[in-house]
């Protein structure tokens, strides 16, 4: 069983997000970059599946050499080998094209991604890869089991879930619940240094969207405290002051 796991390097979940004064660029100084939490779930699932099915897990990242630390972490968690497409990601289409191109040349039984990245939150890369490869994509996948050549996945929908079956290959976007996060052990960390990391040059991709600038949410005015004894007035106060209910 050959599994490809797409990983991205994102600002740590506790990082404060700041931009240059002209709002054109994200300020990465002082920010730790981590393996995207959803990708970590996908990777943990892939490692479990590979262990029980005598398979391999290749992790793939589109990024410059600064993402190597995150790739090594994925190898420490248990990936067999890694591929880095040597380019700074421009948008989700660019990333999906690179990964789909690699996947086409190296056929995998399944491609696991996180349901979204915690920086751009698009959820688009998994779906675009699937569309480029003309295979199904089950995004928001809360569980995944394999029985022979059929995969069964629970996928989140409004107010419940769908149980979906598919043949291989397919793409899934891992959501919470699919697997427990794995913590790399000493042996994993040691072996990660020697596992193969192949660097591949990117293919050309037409640009369809362009990031112009960033913006911050408007700060809330200071909190208004209400005494417990006045709790009975809460909804009237909200109605009067905010007119939303």
């Amino acid at each position: 069983m050959k599994i490809l796991v797409c990983i991205s390097s994102v600002p740590d979940t506790t990082a404060k997000i700041n931009f240059t004064p002209d709002n054109k660029e994200f300020v990465s100084a002082g920010v730790t970059f981590i393996l995207n939490p959803y990708d970590e779930i996908a990777l943990s699932k892939a490692v479990d599946l590979a262990t029980t099915n005598n398979g391999t897990v290749t992790v793939i990242n589109v990024g410059d050499p600064s993402t190597d630390a995150v790739i090594r972490k994925a190898l420490a968690i248990g990936a067999t080998d890694a591929v880095r497409i040597n380019a700074i990601p421009r948008d989700s289409f660019f990333v999906a094209k690179q990964i789909a191109d690699y996947a086409k040349k190296n056929s995998f039984d399944m491609i696991l991604c996180g349901r979204e990245s915690s920086d751009h939150n698009g959820s688009s890369v998994p779906v675009m890869i699937a569309e480029l490869l003309e295979i199904p994509c089950i995004l928001f996948a809360k569980s995944l089991t394999i029985d022979g050549t059929t995969a069964t996945l629970d996928s989140e929908i409004e107010g419940g879930k769908e149980v979906i079956t598919t043949s291989m290959p397919f793409v899934a976007g891992a959501s919470e619940g699919m697997a427990e996060w794995k913590i790399p052990n000493m042996r994993g960390i040691m072996s990660a240094r020697t596992k193969p990391l192949t660097v591949v040059e990117p293919i050309e991709v037409a640009q369809k969207v362009k990031l112009v600038s960033y913006d911050k949410p408007i700060l809330r005015s200071a909190v208004k405290m209400i005494a417990v004894d006045d709790a009975s007035k809460l909804f009237d106060i909200i109605r009067e002051e905010k007119k939303i209910i």
Partner: protein, 325 residues
């Protein structure tokens, strides 16, 4: 040229987010001077289809039939792309619902279009076409210029109001049968969670965290939600511990929501939790610790024990509801 909006139904009834999407698309169509066409897929009654006109669509395409009556994001993407081509659509709008998020990227590739996801306001169309979308899990926004001729926009539920219009729409069948390969994955079963109000679309949300001590204490959270007509949500440790289903978990690794009112009980307000709820219009925090970080991100705060405050809020909500009638 036209603007096409995909309107999603749940078992034959259009979602609230579908009407938001039509209202939003209608504003774009008006600005561009283009016709607004709505597309419905699956089994929807004629009465329901006609409703699309009441929010600004002049034409409603109805794609139904055996193969399309069970939701299938891959097949639906093919239908939407085909309709977009047939209508010569320049802008395609969908709701960023769970299904919408799985459909929009496919449609964008089929149409060689640009894609902007989780858009929170109307595009600026001053020669360039720019949109604002949520980024960094609610900690910031990105302004995106869409360069391609055809543009696909998925809009964040609750980010645009439903605007009734005096139009009436003409309903026409749209016959299109997707390829067999679109049906490789099939939905075997749909399982409903206990809660009836869908969290991403909810206007009011009552949420609780580890401060509730255990699942046995959720009765009062559910009651408060019920009185208000709100959906229920929770923090991550609560769903991790199995006190509540994962589908209720909000935050950076849960669902990002933007209701009108978010009431957080016994939740500390960790940065990962705030990430998914900070775009709520009004936030009320109940916490017994006056130093809880959540108070810094709230509009209203009550320092007190949940077990004392929530029953008071239930009474207050009942009185408030009664005064409205």
């Amino acid at each position: 040229m036209s603007v096409l909006v995909y309107i999603e139904n749940a078992e034959g009834t259009f979602r609230k987010s579908a009407f938001e999407a039509i209202s939003y698309a209608s504003a774009i169509a008006a600005k561009l001077g283009k016709q607004l066409v709505a597309l419905s897929i699956g089994n929807v009654s004629n009465d329901e289809l006609a409703k699309a006109g009441q929010y600004g669509a002049t034409k409603v395409l109805n794609a139904s039939g055996d193969k399309l009556n069970t939701p299938n994001t891959q097949a639906y993407s093919s239908v939407i792309a085909a309709a977009a081509k047939a209508e010569n659509a320049e802008v395609i709008v969908l709701s960023a619902s769970f299904a919408g998020k799985t459909i929009a990227p496919r449609v964008s590739i089929k149409l060689d279009a640009g894609l902007a996801e989780n858009v929170v306001s109307l595009p600026v169309m001053d020669g360039a076409f720019t949109v604002k979308k949520g980024s960094f899990s609610g900690k910031a926004y990105s302004i995106i210029e869409m360069l391609a001729g055809v543009k696909v926009i998925s809009m964040m539920p609750n980010s645009y109001k439903v605007v009734p219009s005096a139009q009436s729409a003409q309903v026409t069948a749209f016959d299109f049968i997707p390829d067999a390969k679109d049906f490789t994955a099939t939905v075997k079963e749909r399982v409903k969670a206990g809660n009836t109000i869908s969290l991403p679309e909810a206007e009011l949300v009552v949420s609780a965290g580890r401060g509730m001590k255990g699942p046995e204490n959720w009765g009062m959270i559910e009651e408060l939600a019920k009185v208000l007509g709100a959906a229920t949500a929770c923090s991550k440790p609560v769903s991790d511990a199995g006190w509540r289903p994962h589908s209720e978990h909000v935050g950076q690794t849960g669902i990002a929501i933007s209701p009108n009112l978010y009431i957080a009980v016994g939740i500390s307000g960790a940065i990962q939790h705030l990430a998914g709820v900070s775009s709520s219009k009004v936030i009320v925090v109940v916490n017994k610790d006056p130093e809880a970080p959540f108070f810094k991100a709230a509009d209203y705060g009550i320092v007190g024990d949940a077990f004392e405050v929530v029953p008071k809020l239930i009474e207050a909500a009942k009185a408030f509801k009664a005064s409205q009638n």
